[in-house]
């Protein structure tokens, strides 16, 4: 019954849009149009807070991801041929102290399917255990396995005992 009414209404309102028939809305059309408008207002008044409520963490992590620089206190003490993990924004990142004393930092997310990669000093490589991706530990270039792109490299600046990592 309701279905028929709605369908009838749609047909009637289409007719009005076409300019055929009446100039004014009928009571029924006015009622449904008004109810629809009021309903939309209520839906918005409930939907907007709910959307904001549920998306707060997503907004926060987007803000966190927007950082361009982070400082790692006392990281200069990191022994040679070893690595430490840190968070750059919301994502895991990796700082490597090379054998020759130089530093490299990469986004530690594998460019293949997003697993977190691992520094393997014995084999001088960065390895992804998920599908066997291999990267160069100095340049971050993808050297073997499925990764399509090199790891994103960061700038490294040593300042006293701290290390400042920034986007290239």
């Amino acid at each position: 019954m309701l279905n028929e009414e709605i369908v009838k209404n749609i047909i009637e309102s289409e007719e009005i849009e076409e300019g055929e028939g009446k100039d004014l809305l009928s009571r029924r059309e006015f009622f449904w149009l008004g109810s629809g408008a009021v309903g939309a207002v209520y839906l918005g008044a409930i939907g907007y807070p709910v959307y904001q409520y549920l998306s707060t963490p997503a907004q926060r992590s987007a803000e966190a991801a927007a950082v361009t620089q982070t400082t790692l206190d006392n990281a200069a003490n990191l022994p040679k041929k070893s690595a430490m993990m840190f968070k750059f924004g919301a994502k895991p990142a990796m700082l490597i102290h090379q054998e020759d004393g130089s530093w490299s930092a990469f986004n530690a997310v594998c460019t293949h399917l997003g697993c977190t990669v691992k520094y393997e000093p014995e084999q001088s490589r960065i390895f992804c255990a998920c599908h066997g991706g291999v990267y160069d530990p100095v340049t971050g270039a993808n050297t073997a396995g499925p990764p399509p792109k090199p790891l994103t490299k960061f700038n490294v600046e040593v300042k006293d005992a701290s290390i400042i990592i920034s986007k290239v």
Binding site: M1, I10, E14, E15, V50, Y53, S55, T56
Partner: protein, 367 residues
């Protein structure tokens, strides 16, 4: 051109309806809705309160699920509610709506219960509707009690502490039961965890089947007529169609309920106290939620008049008898079958109503 297009879309929607109808039996439901009527008389206003209770229950489910997204039971409980209230966007509103709606739901259920009682709607064949309603009322109160602790602020902590005095005063087994419910001799993270499990899993699991049964009973027997209507000859009784007339009014009531809730929740946001500290002294005037005040006050005054176990036993006995009277009222009321008013049932109802109001006001007076 336009007309033929409309014609086409109509037949298509009809085809979809027919397809679904064959499989779901929609026409039967539509037929029931078409023929269902609701008595219309000067007491009809009270018919809406069951629906209003249902509305607030739906709000509770909706806002409860939203709170569940961020709430963490256990040691982190207070911190997570603090985040919901102050950190998460509109978290204060979701929490405020949940708390206000809980209180409004209890109010609506009490109004519903007493209106059913005074309109004698528990009479044959509606006894099971009445009893399932009483169970839903009891479960609602346990919902309220278990939910009140979850923020674990000082008020929640001490209100739950004193509230647990009610089950603890059950003779002989009271302490044992209370310790099991509490998960130890003192309120702790263990208590929050089990109250949480009770509040979001066990109670909904028990509540929803009873609610479905309750609604099925209403559908099966329809709205009851009060004795004053039954006394009228059939030709003088008036009815309105359930659909769309009563349904539209019902939805109007829901809209009013939504607006009242929105105003209360946004203009009087539910507060969060300081974190509960078991070593801190109780704040002055601590008391349980208003819907437990009556029982709380009864226990208190009986304890004062009859020190020791006797007072507790007597206090317990009084509200057990009150509960028992409610359960047995369909059997006590046998007069009104003939359309005569059942005076005794009315007196019992009035006695319970004024007893509850009096002890509640008395309780707040002494706070």
């Amino acid at each position: 051109m336009q007309a033929s297009l409309s014609q086409k879309s109509k037949t298509r929607s009809e085809a979809v309806y027919d397809w679904a109808d064959e499989r779901l039996g929609l026409t039967e439901v539509v037929e029931i809705a078409k023929h269902k009527t609701v008595p219309s008389h000067k007491h009809s206003f009270w018919y809406y309160w069951g629906g209003i209770s249902l509305f607030f229950f739906i709000v509770q489910v909706f806002t409860g699920i939203l709170l569940l997204v961020y709430y963490r039971a256990g040691a982190d409980a207070y911190e997570s509610v603090r985040q919901i209230t102050y950190d998460i966007k509109f978290g204060w509103l979701v929490r405020s709506a949940h708390s206000w709606s809980a209180n409004l739901m209890v109010v609506a259920i009490f109004v519903h219960m007493f209106s059913v009682l005074f309109m004698k709607a528990y009479r044959k064949p509606r006894e099971f509707g009445w009893w399932s309603g009483l169970i839903l009322l009891a479960l609602t109160m346990v919902f309220g009690f278990s939910g009140y602790l979850l923020p674990m602020d000082d008020l929640a902590y001490f209100a739950t502490k004193v509230g647990l005095e009610i089950p603890a005063s059950i003779p002989i087994v009271g302490d044992l039961i209370t310790n099991i419910v509490r998960g130890g001799q003192e309120l702790s993270e263990v208590t929050i965890q089990r109250f949480f499990a009770l509040h979001v899993v066990i109670l909904p699991l028990v509540y929803i089947p009873f609610l479905a049964f309750h609604l099925f009973m209403v559908q099966k027997h329809g709205n009851a007529m009060p004795p004053s209507e039954e006394a009228k000859p059939a030709s003088e009784r008036r009815f309105i169609r359930f659909f769309p007339d009563f349904f539209a009014k019902d939805m109007g009531m829901w809209l009013i309920a939504l607006n009242v809730l929105a105003i209360l929740a946004s203009l009087y946001p539910w507060q969060l106290g300081t974190q509960a500290d078991p070593l801190a002294p109780a704040p002055a005037g601590i008391h349980p939620e208003w819907y437990f005040m009556s029982q709380f006050q009864l226990l208190k005054v009986f304890g004062r008049w009859f020190p020791g176990m006797t007072g507790e036993v007597l206090g317990m006995a009084v509200f057990s008898i009150a509960g028992l009277l409610l359960v047995l009222i369909p059997f006590i009321d046998s007069d009104s079958k003939s359309g005569k008013r059942a005076r005794l049932a009315t007196y019992i109802g009035l006695g319970l109503l004024f007893g509850m109001l009096l002890t509640t006001i008395w309780g707040y007076w002494e706070v």
